[in-house]
Amino acid sequence: MPALAAWYDLRDLGHYVTSVINWLQDDLSAPDWVTYVVSGVIGIVAILLWLLISQLSFIWIERRIIGRMQARIGPNRVGPRGLLQPIADALKLLLKEAITVRLADRPLFWLGPVLIFVPAMVVFAVIPFGKGMTLADLNVGVLFVIAIGSTNTVAVFIAGWSSNNKFALLGAMRTVAMLISYELIQVLALLGVVVFAGSMRLGEVVAWQSHYNAWLLFLQPLALVSFMIASAVEINRSPMDISEAESEIVAGYHTEYSGIKFGFFYTAEYFAGFAISAVTVTLFLGGWTAWGLEEWVPGWLLFLSKLYLVFFLFIWTRGTLPRLRIDQLMAFAWKFLLPLALVNVLVAGGEVLAWREGDISSNVALPIFGVANAVLAAQLIIGWGTFMGHLKPERRAKRAVLTQELGAVYYVPPKRPAGEP
């Protein structure tokens, strides 16, 4: 079969599909829609398979990593080194009863867990996994990513509302509030990328980074930081897991879900994490390229290693950071990230304009921009933080007073009345 003609070339998994399509078109003279459907199905199946395998492995990896962070071992009973733990978990979730509470809105209660899958999976359609490995190379890929990402909230809100549970409702309300704030920051962060790359097509953003040998991470550090924070908010990862804050509102929007319906939320959380990591890698970390290394190492392998590295960051924050309060998170978005993101877009625009108009060689311009933007990012964060009063002594950490004087009172009444943030 000609489809396997170049089977040994692992660098580009796309050519298998190409040869299948060529075989269909040339040898079988199949109509266009057949090849269209076949390539689509192959892509979808491949992405789903990869997602499931990654998710199952990462359940184990995350639990082991968090175990190490928490000075314990992590799952090590089921199978060698606990490797079968994810499968045991999945079986448990499948076999447990998926309770529907009596007061729930039944159709919506079912719709929530199904809908939450959609945004998490559809994002992968536009991600270039490697050379010629994009399911749909949309010309508005960046917009698509943002638009799809925000529909996540609808599913969460449906789940929270239909459960008819107060904790779930609180969680759902928090999600909506958070998304409205952080969607804006996500868009502004990606705008900086788009301004530099000059295209919204994800494939072209990767090509741009490869062509100039400059990952946008170095050119747009501030955008990367704000994008990662906004994404962590969107996918409910710690320290922004406010809508499912365990210690406050039990499990937030999925408090009432059990069995496989909870499993759907659990899985979708991983998928969304992978999706955000994939977008980060594509837009900021050079996608499947790595300064010519992609000639030797399969591009998809580079892409996946970067993706898992970014996903590790989310695991890391989950294992280490406490959670903010919802009003603090909102204040952080509007008072801190938004101004910085706006400045960043302005600076990026100015730089690109100067570069284009001034006819500067990219070898000179890009390193200067990189250094300038890194310095600017640090200055802005520190400067704006100081301006907003984050470095005031009453916000800084302190220590308890040590005394020998029994019965003395050291109490200092607060300047502001209690309860005001």
């Binding site: 009453e394 050291y410 607060p414």
Partner: protein, 367 residues
């Protein structure tokens, strides 16, 4: 036309990840703000005070393990002090020092749990708790060496302690003590300096000194409100008057100060332990006390500084073998008094942190 509204009432507990047992907070919310709060207790009521009236004076000691099950040693000690006062018995020197050592180890273990769980309430998903538990485990190992039990120790006796520490106790204790300051540095760096924890707890749940005194709050919660009051200094028991340590006080009375006071007290506990392990004399660990102890008719109140505050046992004897009346002044219960004042006006997330900072043990709240 005005919209029809009704209060949004949320039950935090009795089954909830952060109520530290079966405690229930009934919060009335306006959005995320708390407009009213009710405390519902009694889910763990075991009628210890009445049960004790049917037991002999020695048989009561295991109950005191189970009131504050996170700090059993101090529970034992407070009761034993009351009973000794009633009988006029004085424990031998070595027993006094052992009591100090056990109390301070217990204080460290209890505070490390309080600090870890507080960080957990702030949303740090289990990591600080697990790290704090590591040190707590080592202390519980020491308890196991001394008395065979880890949680419900039943170690103190009227007139001393149940048995002397085994020879391997001292090296293990010294090894642990050498390790703890390093751990404390690490925890102070990671938790006290943590920007998010500061943001979550600074200015939250401010308990003014006047209110703290008016509601007879005690322990770290009172000290966090700036009142330098410590039973170990005010009414020294065991061997505390021969030890050097400081009272740790806060200045703002907020959640952050309660957390700071606990962290600082852990350091003071290490300081006390270092002195006590060096100064402990040899000798008997208990005086002979008749099995059927019949104290003279009268009453006695023994109080100590437990990790949660002033833990007092009020024992009345009518000359019989069992206490005529047995009352526990439990700090967890009394420290809950200002919770409603602290919670109103705060958000749901704050209420959890405030409750966590009070550090209740429901076994002691309900007895």
């Amino acid at each position: 036309m005005p919209m029809k509204t009704e209060p949004f009432v949320v039950n935090i507990g009795p089954q909830h990840p952060s109520t530290h047992g079966v405690f229930r907070m009934r919060l009335t919310l306006d959005g995320e703000r708390i407009t009213d709060a009710d405390m519902v207790i009694g889910y763990l009521h075991r009628s210890m005070e009445k049960l004790a009236e049917e037991r002999s004076f020695t048989q009561v000691i295991p109950f005191t393990d189970r009131t504050d099950y996170v700090a059993a040693m101090t529970g034992n000690l407070a009761y034993v002090l009351a009973a000794e006062k009633l009988c006029g018995i004085e424990a031998p020197e070595r027993a006094q020092w052992l009591r100090v050592i056990m109390s301070e180890l217990q204080r460290f273990a209890s505070h490390s749990m309080a600090v870890g769980v507080f960080a957990n309430d702030c949303g740090a998903w289990q990591t600080p708790v697990m790290h704090m538990f590591r040190e707590r485990e080592k202390i519980l190992d020491l308890f196991e060496m001394a008395c065979g039990a880890r949680l419900t120790t039943n170690y103190m006796r009227i007139g001393g302690v149940s048995r002397d520490i085994p020879p391997e106790f001292m090296p293990a204790a010294h090894k642990l003590l050498a390790e703890l300051p390093k751990r404390m540095d690490e925890y102070e760096d990671l938790l006290v300096e943590n920007e998010i924890i500061v943001a979550r707890s600074r200015g939250v749940g401010v308990l003014p000194a006047e209110l703290a005194i008016a509601t007879s709050v005690s322990g770290p919660m009172l000290r966090a409100s700036g009142v330098a009051w410590d039973i170990r200094k005010a009414d020294p028991y065991a061997a505390y008057e021969r030890l050097e340590f400081d009272i740790c006080v806060g200045t703002n009375g907020d959640v952050y100060d309660r957390f700071l006071v606990r962290v600082a007290e852990m350091r003071q506990s290490i300081r006390i332990l270092e002195q006590a392990l060096a100064m402990i004399p040899d000798g008997p660990v208990a005086v002979d006390v008749p099995v059927a102890l019949r104290p003279p008719a009268g009453e006695a109140y023994g109080r100590i500084e437990s990790p949660r505050g002033e833990l007092g046992f009020y024992v009345v004897s009518d000359g019989g073998p069992a206490p005529y009346r047995f009352h526990i002044r439990s700090p967890s219960y009394i420290n809950l008094t200002p919770l409603r004042d602290l919670a109103i006006g705060a958000t749901v997330a704050d209420a959890i942190v405030i409750l966590g900072s009070i550090d209740i043990v429901v076994g002691e709240v309900d007895r």
